[in-house]
Symmetry: C2
Subunit: 999 residues, 2 copies
């Protein structure tokens, strides 16, 4: 059959389908009901939709009448929104009838929203679910049951999720034989098991992470196997659901391993789901079918369009990745038809579940199956419970084999599930919305999506073309996409390669020449102290003098270049670092114990600093005309300050070193770079990068050294104009004080750019989304062992939510894995060195005295490990709440209310980062105004600032108010110069285009 003829049949069937259900609408769009009204308002008003969906999201947390009323007011009382009257009345509290009416109205709002949620789930517990199942089956539908749950943040939760499935299966076991028969007595439609469950795999292992691909596959499989055993015992069917793209390859691998395992290869009722909106699905599907054929294993695929489009798109954009999903709806529709055909053509090895509400897509599946003569038992149709009732009814009439995807679970995850369904139904391109709410022309709804694409391309040639590279604008270097095998392999190979280079001796580099000294220090792998990364020559004051001379000699030529010319060296250096990104990451993994992703983020940040400061330099280097007066041209420009000392920390060993150095260099200040002792070899990476970029000799001088020997000398040297420092408050204050005294021969007041410590708090409000909050606090407090100035070291938790948060947090922390960073299975590694270890251990002892230790993890016996520690009962006056620990130690502070949370958060001398998890618009606003830190994060963790997007730095004792990676940073490295030229001679002044001239 040719394509055109098939398409005509599909179109005809689609029209017929529409005709058969004409006049009916899904209950969700029924405006006679509250739900329909809400949907109608949401579709008309984007702002209300946002507020409503956010309110739905927070609603299960609003356990008191006060809290409910407050949130309704905060979300809906604003003047600027087109809020429906019923919400407004609730929000305003009073209205007609006084306060009581408000309370009643608010209860009504809650009840109505909760019953909206109940429309989509078959019950809040097994008992209710079983009742609903019975009822549904009477209507002739089969089901696949799915358990809703909160996000899994710990192994305890993952295990408990597994238990819920086992309990569900146990309950089904007791009842399924009594169910209304569909088809013959024991099998639905004569071939399908009555018991059919769907499982989200990532919920079964809390550490699922593409970076640890193997560990994730194993972790998930280990919990899927008991479930699958039970399913097999009952002769049931299990489908492994497909979730976010991030987990896709892991899920496919889990499926293949289970399906092909000795234990289960003979059991055919294990299926998987694929998402047509993913660009990779063509290849994945082809590979999966080929695998099944080569293994001789029948498989089953549920094909969906995909439910996380917004998420996938936003995350990809945020991370600088190619968007994994199609950006035009018709592309996904076309892919769905293409994938359907591929599966049906392989029906002998693969059974098919067509999961779509789109009548065109469904019709296409039907007509293709007919054309390919696919036996009826090889394909079925699936729709979501609670949605698209006319479609499911129509399907039942035509295709008979209709399975409802039927979730059940608590209202808390139920409300979250509601948000996803609302989003789906209110999206502009939603087929259901267009079909039933907007009554779009049937011609368009049944159109071949490929035809649609051709039309879009013709109407808007740009739409069909990928956005071109915009090299003129700064773009963050993408963080590693560990879903890609070549990335994971890249890390393994780089670690091996770097390991082959360990143990070398590193000279100083002064004026482009390598200088060897007798005083040397080793830098070791903190996970295996016997492994020497390198031996580093140490500078004495003599070498500092030499380096200053070299810098002074290099200065005139370097400063004679324009900002734009100097910027080109940074761009070249960025290219070098980008090319060597795996290797540069590997050095950090071994020298300071950074996890793969942490190390890659550091190198990416170094690249960002180079690219961003290059562009900033061009901006700063363009003189500005001041005023518009005729007869004078006033140009404001900037010039280098002189020679810069860059004193760097070890915790972001490449990024911060590179950022401070690049800023100094691009503005014309030759640099003496003193890396931190524990990261001196990574520091030498920077020498190599600048060398390869062709930076002239003497512009960047590498002078590692002992602080006690040359630290003060460097800072106090009369020829040092500028000191860029990142490190502890104590050292920072010492530098600031010493730099402030003018010494003989000194020509300038020294400028000190100092980033110092933090004692960062994350506030957990009583309505915080704990799924997010727990994960982010864990990450902020313990990633890279808490050795970040931005790390969270205080979690300030409002009383009503304290117990629940503590429980989930401690369990999550208890689930983390600890060991060498080179193994991606480890969540935490060693701290940087013995000094750090001792200091942190002292704080842990102190924690035991000041509070109650909730968790103290065991750690490997060799290597610089300290136990991950969580301590509660801490108050602001405790040292644990005031001093920077710089290790994996987290204090929990319980506060009575939000006021106290802000007060306690602000109770230290530091003001670096802070975060708050809250879904109260008013509390978020108050945090903006009152939470006194340089970098404040709302509903995200306190670490991970990106160049440009999150200019980084604090004030008070956290620093001098500079912000690295921000628009004001380079200003600190320059002196301004105003050149005013009187252009009038003998009464004659040329008039410039920018003059404020007469008329």
């Amino acid at each position: 059959m040719d394509i055109n003829s098939l398409d005509q049949k599909i179109t005809a069937r689609s029209r017929e389908f529409f005709t058969s259900i004409s006049g009916e609408a899904p209950s969700i769009f029924n405006k006679g009901w509250w739900t329909g009204k809400v949907m109608d308002w949401s579709m008309k008003n984007e702002n209300f939709k946002v507020q409503l969906f956010r309110f739905v999201d927070v609603l299960p947390y609003l356990t008191t009448s006060e809290s409910l009323s407050r949130h309704i007011r905060e979300y809906f009382a604003g003047d600027d929104q087109d809020v429906p009257a019923v919400m407004k009345w609730g929000a305003l509290g009073a209205g007609f009838g006084g306060k009581l009416t408000g309370v009643i109205l608010n209860r009504t709002i809650r009840t109505n929203l909760e019953s909206m949620a109940r429309q989509f789930i078959i019950g809040e517990n097994v008992k209710d679910a079983l009742k609903t199942i019975k009822k549904i089956r009477k209507d002739g539908f089969t089901l696949t049951v799915d358990i809703l749950g909160e996000a899994t943040v710990s192994e305890m939760e993952a295990a408990s999720f597994m238990e819920m499935y086992l309990q569900l299966l146990a309950a089904l076991e007791k009842s399924y034989k009594d169910w209304h028969a569909i088809g013959d007595d024991t099998l639905d439609w004569g071939h399908a098991p009555r018991i059919n469950i769907s499982v989200k795999p990532s919920a079964l292992f809390s550490l699922t992470d593409p970076m640890d691909f193997e560990g994730s596959v194993t972790g998930i499989s280990n919990r899927l196997i008991p479930i699958l055993r039970k399913v097999r015992e009952l002769g049931g069917f299990m489908r492994i659901d497909m979730e976010h793209h991030r987990f896709k390859d892991i899920t496919l691998e889990v499926y293949r391993r289970l399906r092909a395992s000795q234990e289960f290869r003979d059991y055919p009722h294990l299926g998987i789901a694929l998402q047509s909106y993913l660009k990779e699905t063509d290849a994945d599907l082809k590979a999966l079918l080929a695998w099944a054929r080569s293994e001789g294993l029948p498989i089953s695929i549920r094909l969906v369009k995909g439910a996380y489009w917004d998420y996938e798109t936003v995350i990809a954009k945020q991370n600088g990745w190619e968007i994994p999903v199609y950006t035009i709806k018709a592309e996904s529709d076309a892919a769905f038809e293409r994938h359907t055909r591929m599966i049906l053509e392989n029906q002998d090895i693969c059974s098919y579940a067509c999961a779509s509400h789109n009548i065109r897509s469904i019709s296409a599946a039907m007509e293709m199956a007919r054309e390919l003569e696919v036996p009826e038992h090889r394909y079925e149709f699936q729709v979501l419970y609670g949605m698209a009732e006319p479609v499911r009814k129509g399907l039942l009439n035509v295709a008979r084999r209709v399975r409802l995807y039927a979730p059940y679970g608590d209202l808390l995850p139920g409300m979250a599930y509601l948000v996803r369904r609302l989003l789906e139904n209110t999206a502009n391109e939603s087929f259901l919305r267009q079909s039933f709410a907007e009554a779009a022309e049937i011609d368009r709804l049944v159109e071949n999506p490929f035809t649609t694409l051709v039309r879009i391309a013709e109407q808007n040639p740009d739409k069909a073309r990928p956005a071109g590279a915009r090299s003129d604008r700064f773009v963050n270097e993408p963080i590693a996409d560990f879903t890609r095998r070549e990335v994971r392999d890249g890390f393994v190979a780089a670690i091996t390669a770097v390991r082959g280079k360990l143990g070398a001796t590193y000279p100083l580099v002064i004026g482009g020449r390598e200088v060897v000294t007798d005083d040397r220090l080793p830098s070791v792998n903190p996970a295996r102290p016997q492994e020497i990364i390198g031996t580093i020559c140490q500078a004495s004051t003599r070498e500092i003098d030499a380096a200053i001379t070299a810098a002074a000699q290099a200065a005139p030529a370097w400063q004679a270049l324009t900002f734009a010319e100097r910027a080109q060296y940074l761009v070249k250096a960025a290219a070098v670092a980008r090319r060597r990104i795996y290797e540069l990451s590997a050095w950090q993994i071994l020298e300071v114990g950074k996890q793969w992703n942490q190390a890659q983020a550091d190198v990416a940040e170094a690249i960002d600093f180079l690219e961003y400061y290059a562009r900033e330099a061009v901006r700063l280097g363009t003189p500005r005309r001041m005023g518009t007066s005729p007869g004078e041209i006033n140009l404001l420009s900037y010039q280098a300050k002189g020679i810069a000392a860059v004193i760097a920390p070890w915790n972001f060993p490449l990024a911060i070193s590179c950022g401070m150095s690049a800023a100094a260099i691009v503005t014309g200040n030759p640099v003496l770079y003193k890396p931190a002792g524990p990261s001196s070899v990574v520091g030498f990476n920077l020498v190599e990068i600048f060398r390869e970029a062709g930076l002239p000799a003497g512009v960047f001088n590498y002078v590692p050294g002992r602080g006690a020997v040359m630290g003060d000398y460097l800072v106090e040297h009369p020829d040092i104009a500028l000191i860029a420092f990142t490190g502890s408050m104590e050292v920072g204050q010492r530098i600031i004080t010493r730099a402030a005294t003018v010494r003989p021969g000194q020509r300038q007041i020294k400028k000190v750019v100092a980033e110092m410590g933090g004692k960062n708090a994350i506030i957990i409000d009583d309505d915080a989304d704990l799924d997010e909050a727990v994960r982010q606090v864990i990450n902020s407090a313990f990633a890279f062992q808490g050795q970040k100035c931005s790390a969270c070291s205080r979690a300030i938790v409002v009383e009503p939510i304290y117990e629940k948060f503590r429980e989930r947090l401690v369990q999550a922390a208890a689930s983390l894995t600890i060991g060498p960073a080179e193994d991606p299975a480890n969540s935490l590694g060693p701290v940087v060195d013995e000094t750090a270890r001792k200091s942190i251990l002292e704080y842990i002892e102190l924690a035991k005295q000041e509070g109650k230790v909730l968790l103290s993890r065991e750690v490997p016996a060799t290597g610089c490990y300290v136990p991950l520690t969580i301590v509660e009962g801490i108050r602001p006056e405790h040292r644990i709440a005031q001093e920077e620990i710089f290790g994996p130690v987290l204090a929990l502070l319980k506060v009575k209310d939000f006021d106290q949370a802000i007060e306690w958060a602000n109770s230290t001398r530091f003001s670096l980062t802070g975060a708050i998890f809250s879904r109260s618009p008013e509390h978020l606003d108050r945090a903006r105004a009152e939470f006194n830190v340089g970098n404040l994060y709302l509903n995200r963790g306190s670490t991970g600032a990106l160049v440009e997007r999150h200019p980084f730095g604090g004030f008070n004792m956290s620093g001098v108010g500079s912000k690295a990676g921000g628009p004001d940073y380079l200003l600190q490295f320059v002196d301004p110069k105003l050149v005013s030229e009187n252009t009038m001679r003998r009464g004659f002044a040329p008039i410039e285009a920018t003059d404020d001239w007469i008329n």
Copy 2:
């Protein structure tokens, strides 16, 4: 006769005139000649025109072949200009024929340009001039002779200029009887004296200044009288020329006094000139005619359009004054006809000289005279020598009575005069250019200018309307326009009023309450130390504590306001200061000895700071979205640092105090303001201003005090977050050092904004325009007695020009007047107090040891006066060349070349201001790059920075690189804050318009 009929006659006569000269063109436009070619190029290419005119201007200074070649290359060798080949060849040196050809070509260029200049003058000395006169008279023209001269910068030069006129008259006396008779034997045309001279009055008195109106009138008159006596002796005619608008009222007054004086009231041959392009001329002319009639004194008026249009317009724009000239050419043309008519209608009392090359204007005069039946001997026509030959020829034929305005003098002023003539002839709207170079339609050329205006208004309604006030943009407060009598009277009245308020006791102001202390200090008038300006209560550490408490109490509410809300208080304060500007100036005149204009400039700068920082605060207060990633909103904003100490100097007692305070206040930092002791009463003015503006109590606290008692305490106080200081290097360094140590209870690293001293140099290059250079060095070194951090204290002079510069400089300094600042006749006043006096006297003693004192002026015996001192023979190693003196002491440093000039200029620890006078494009470029100061001025003095246009401040030991009145200033008073909100919840992120979203 009705207007229409007259206009028809004028038009007809104009056409006839054109016909009579058809085919002829002024020699200047004759393209067969070099001159014509140059004019042609200039009219075609604006850029070449600028370069050419500037080159003509500098040409007389190029006394060596090397210097000539270098300048030709610098002016004409650039690639980007459409430079005619002949200039290019010269510029490139080589060309065909090699280097020698280049030298010859360059000589040719010089010769050609010099002969262009000679076209416009009747000789370079009296002898040549007399020859030309004889020749011209043979052609039937009479003359008025004018002596060209350099600008008069000293009384010696003024006296010498007078002498030149007397010598001219003596020469004329010997020869005039031999001249070709025009009309009868002794009088030209039967009624006009043969001897006729024109005199520029301002050249006769070097201190001519509208601020000292009386002194200027007397000074000029004193030198005019001897000339007029000689003229009368010879029976000749003297015309007082009209120069810049600035001198207009002085000139009119000089004329009226001389004309009505006992000695000359009987001698009718004294005339004046008026300029029709001045908007005030209608009133001036009316008043002058009325005066003549009331006095019964016949007068004579030469009417011109006016020759300084560019200058008047640019200067008015620069100073914020209403433009005094008409901005549309036709307005001047219409005014000329209107004024002509007024004069001719009063021909019985006023004879008329019609001085225009415009055929329409000339024809209008002729027809009006005919209509009004003016006797022929009551009017004549004047044209410039060397210009518009066809017009003068036509005039001779028709009107007979044609007088040529005939300048003579050195080529140096001759070349300057050439620039003015070239400018006139190449202006787009030049009648001669349109008539003879462009052959515009005669209809348009002879059109009634009133008709032209109506047409312009119809075509472009905006053109005819004055530009509206643009209150949104920052505009500098105008400097005082002392040409206006009400301004001069305002100062006199304000000084009287303030004198009535002297002697009060001034309390501290803390938290809005006045606090009286027992420790008090008087502030006295330095010109009369017995006159007590006020007695000021002094703060002890107790009051500092109280003020910090008050500031801390005021902080939360003040910081809760938006930047825009706080800015409104500054705008209100500016309005208060603007209203009280005379009074505020008067306080400074009496308390610190500022001259009127210096005091007004200080108050205007205070107003500028208020208005500018208000606008800057609004800009800074608008959060910036960082990055465009979807799913997150990152806003970068700024917030106050805390409590600020403002430690102010006495030399700009209101401006700097106000600027530093306003910056702190508008950014949210409550202020403790410590005025300098000698200007504490002016400091209290600021209290009054902010109080009237409604600033909340505690935001601005007035705490004068003894540095030794509370200085360190204030700086070191742990609650002071921010110190804004302007003063000496020594105190600045002390503050920086002391502020850098963190003390118990201190929460933040203190920010110090420090403006310190200067040791500013002005370089005088060998091609400097000395007319400008001498005046500007005098002003930069001695205005307000040199008590400015921007003051020039070193003049670095290149050897070839040294002698000439020294001579003119010393004479200029010797001409200055010294005495109390309240008398506007005094150029210099006292220094601020006894301490300053003693310190400066010590430096003067040192100057005598280190160099040779060229000038040491006598000063009044009482009051804090020090002798104005100029010392030569100073080298960089001398203390006089290194230390800030802060008084009227100027060192001359002779250097061998420009390289050494730059080297010596940069040889101090300071880098504040600097200036260079040079007409070498390459040297100016080198200065831009190598003259290492914060504020560099090209061809203007080193003082007088204006807010916004000249952001002010230095680096090295001159300060920390801040620039007051510039776009980066407020950044120093704030901490940055980045708030990053994760807007994604449950996979749903609202998409913002500014997101970088798919396609």
